[in-house]
Amino acid sequence: MHNKSLTELAADLRAGAYTSVELTQHFLDRIEKHDGSLNSFITVTADIALAQAAEADAQIAAGTAGPLTGIPMAHKDIFCTDGVKTSCGSKMLDNFISPYDATVVEKLKAAGMPMLGKTNMDEFAMGSSNETSFYGAVKNPWDTDRVPGGSSGGSAAAVAARLAPITTGSDTGGSIRQPASLTGITGIKPTYGRVSRFGMIAYASSLDQGGVFARDAADCALVLSAMSGFDEKDSTSSEEENVDFTSSLDKSLDGLRIGVPKEYFGEGLDEGVSTSIKAALEQYKALGAEIVEIELPNTGLAIPSYYVIAPAECSANLSRMDGVRYGHRCENPVDLEDMYKRSRSEGFGSEVKRRIMVGTYALSAGYYDAYYIKAQKVRRKIKEDFVKAFENVDVIMGPVAPTTAFKVGEKKDDPVSMYLSDIYTLAVNLAGLPAISVPVEPVAGLPVGLQIIGNYFDESRLLNVAHQFQQATDWHKQSPEGFGG
């Protein structure tokens, strides 16, 4: 059951091959059996999942089921879930039971998907290896000595290890695409504004975007269709008409113009990864696409720009974690200032503190123009690069990450080297574009992801381009040893 696509699962459920309760129990059993070595879940909600599955079975029996009814899933622990602990990977929210559902949670609930639990993540989505989680590092199912990437590392590992058919994630600087790449699955970050941010705990509001992990693009298309849409509770959500992303999956790629930025193949890119990506591009040629070399001249400025804007926004976003109304509060505060200082010092981990301090500094009187305003100017330039490129090409392709999964602990104490691992993904968030990571040929047994970047609100094409590749290849069907059979 755990190797089937969503379409197959839905068909089986309708045909009565098994019930949603059985299917859900199957995944709960797998979590029980395998997650000890992976640590991909922070909370498993078996009772909720089985109750929702029973409801789904009733709907299936009554003939009122939708395409996702009865198929279990898991949410990144950044999405608020009514009555369920929502920790965001932090000690700060270890005791936080959300009193409401995020819009994404509401939507997938309404679609009839039982929730298996909440997946592990880097603390407040800050990290590229899932090592900053208060709940411990997540291990990569392909090699448990290695990281699964981050920040949505738990969601990626869970899908790669077949502990859930699909999981949600969020992507602020690569947090869906990079872990998808490192764990050999498919992950899409939609256009900024496509998926409501309401109830998705904010890291950097102008960059955060919810998305989905699945094993292939067709499954992503199905779930993304259910997650997307304008939300009156999120002023930055787009009023763009919602589409069924599955409808154009089968379009031919004949004549597709693929832009390949030379800046994405420069120094720092692992040779093996480079070779795999280039092989994939050859595959696209065989599918009828045309490769066009393009320039994204401001690529190198993405990291400095991102590491001003994201910390600046997070420094304010995390101010509400003050120990007053919810979350961690220190023992026996002597006065208000003591309560603030100790609650926050104890509740936040070091990466979060680092970014809050960087952001606070960047917004301070006398530094604001030099840092924040300058970074926003650079951001506009990066966006202009993409807008110009899309005048000539339909999609842009390159690597997601410069390397395959690195070892747990390898970069933990070297933040700059960690930041550099997001070099190809950050610019997409700064520009607000949609992008997807698709598994290509592994290097030394470790997965590699191809990044496909689309134009604004062009997710249908992205999914179509990814799906056609997956029709011609079977990299996405490979499973890590011990988790597939």
Binding site: K233, L318, D322, L363, A365, Y368
Partner: protein, 477 residues
């Protein structure tokens, strides 16, 4: 040395929207603590603000009313600081792109001249919650009902030269926002309050002196007193060789002094930056036009119209147009009775004094404009006398019914029937032969005695003019 005072006011007017600036919670005053705070007001993780468009309309209306620039784009910014009654850890306000730009309004000075006061800007922002330090021993309670309530902060130019001008300006804004229906103006409930920036400089000096900011003053009286005391303090300080430091001060009306709250060095660096959760607010020409079409008649224009249309005195018209509710009340009664002067007297007299005593607003008057209208009609059609009318008004106020019901029930109708009055007079003369004889023999003063007796016997209902006439003819016959 001669000194000159420079004052600028920052007025906080709470916009009278049903829901908060960025959440759907009610803004009603006086509910149980924290019953009007939803997940957004509590700043739960993951929540997002959504702008209340009614607040935008009201701010635009204020801008149009003071002839200010209302720019195409305004931007919300986060003002960062920590306080328990500020759940987000930042206030959503506006910084370099406010919704209302430079405007002005005129105030009347005591010498009858008018002075134009510049309004630098007005911007939208959220109010904070309330910290309750008294209710819990050793702890502070936080009530978030007010948290997120929309405020319009109206910042004046430093154009005000003394406390009286400051009060005149504040009153003018107070009247205006109520006329526009954008703020209830209730100062007790904190719906309208101000900070005053006060500095002094030697007369003729161009450079401004260092200012102190008096925080959170919520009455006209305190504004005047607070400024005067602060000016005195600054002058005394400088003349004694000291210097004024830039700081925030509190006016304490009980001790009749201002005292330091925090100095500039202790001031927060608010680290303003554009709020990424909110799009820039686009004000279209269409919106400006539609708000302009809703703009009510402004107080000064209405006052002049009352003078012209109803031939009211400058004073009466001024008092009536000091609030929209009083001017509306008056106009309903004046038009319905056709007796403008009499209506003005009743509204500014009996009604205003009852409202004052009961601390009620015109809108909450216990005598409706319709009831006052019928009362005035009964005066003018001679059914009741003016003095009886006051008693009827009192009865309506006390909820005893409408004019005619009360007149009927209490038998207050004027007796104008000559025969009935004659019969009473005859009875009085018969009962008081001694007084009658004295009057007849020249003691004219006793006429008053007979009037009094007659009125008493008629329980005050006899028409006094008729009583006079008939008594004269009978006594002098």
């Amino acid at each position: 040395m001669e000194w000159e005072t420079v004052i600028g006011l920052e007025i906080h007017a709470q916009l009278s929207t049903k829901s908060k600036l960025f959440s759907g919670s009610s803004t009603a005053y006086g509910s149980e603590p924290n019953t009007q705070a939803n997940v957004v007001d509590l700043a739960m993780p993951g929540v997002l603000p959504v702008l209340n468009t009614d607040a935008v309309r009201k701010a635009v209306m204020f801008g149009l009313a003071i002839d200010a620039e209302v720019p195409d784009i305004s931007v919300f910014a986060r003002k960062n600081y920590f306080y328990p009654d500020l759940p987000q850890g930042y206030q959503i306000s506006q910084f370099d792109k406010p919704i209302v730009g430079l405007g002005h309004l005129d105030i009347e000075l005591e010498n009858g001249e008018t002075k134009r006061i510049g309004v630098t800007r007005a911007h939208l922002e959220q109010d904070a919650g309330k910290s309750l330090h008294e209710d819990f021993a050793g702890q502070t309670g936080v009530d978030l009902n007010r948290s997120g309530t929309p405020l319009l902060e109206i910042v004046s130019e430093p154009d005000l030269s003394n406390a009286k001008e400051a009060v005149a300006y504040m009153r003018k804004i107070h009247t205006l926002v109520q006329f526009l229906g954008i703020c209830d103006g209730n100062m007790q409930e904190g719906s309208f309050r101000c900070d005053a920036n006060v500095s002094v400089r030697p007369k003729g000096q161009a450079k401004l002196g260092t200012r102190a900011e008096l925080k959170n003053i919520n009455s006209f009286k305190f504004v005047e007193r607070g400024i005067n005391i602060e000016v005195e303090r600054q002058i005394d300080l400088i003349e004694a060789g000291g210097t004024v430091v830039q700081e925030t001060r509190l006016f304490d009306p009980d001790k009749d002094e201002t005292r330091s709250m925090r100095s500039k060095e202790e001031a927060n660096d608010y680290r303003y930056f554009p709020d990424p959760d909110l799009l820039p607010v686009a004000i279209t020409q269409e919106l400006r036009d539609s708000v302009r079409a809703e703009l009510p008649e402004l107080p000064e224009i209405k006052k002049q119209r009352f003078i012209d249309q109803f031939e009211l005195s400058e004073f009466d018209a001024g008092v009536l147009t000091s609030s929209r509710a009083s001017s509306d009340y008056f106009e309903i009664v004046a038009l319905a009775t056709g007796e403008a002067k009499l209506s003005a007297n009743w509204v500014n007299g009996e009604l205003a004094s009852h409202l004052n005593k009961a601390e009620l607003d015109f809108a909450d008057s216990k005598v409706t404009p319709e009831q006052l209208t019928s009362l005035i009609k009964r005066i003018t059609d001679n059914t009741i006398s003016g003095s009886t009318a006051k008693a009827v008004f009192e009865a309506i106020w006390n909820g005893e019914g409408d004019t005619d019901q009360i007149i009927e029930a209490k038998g207050l109708k004027k007796i104008t029937d000559t025969g009935a009055i004659e019969a009473i007079i005859d009875g009085i003369i018969e009962a008081n032969p001694g007084q009658y004889e004295q009057y007849r023999s020249g003691k004219d003063k006793l006429f008053g005695f007979f009037v009094g007796q007659t009125m008493k016997a008629s329980k005050g209902q006899a028409d006094p003019a008729e009583v006079n006439r008939l008594l004269k003819s009978k006594l002098d016959a």
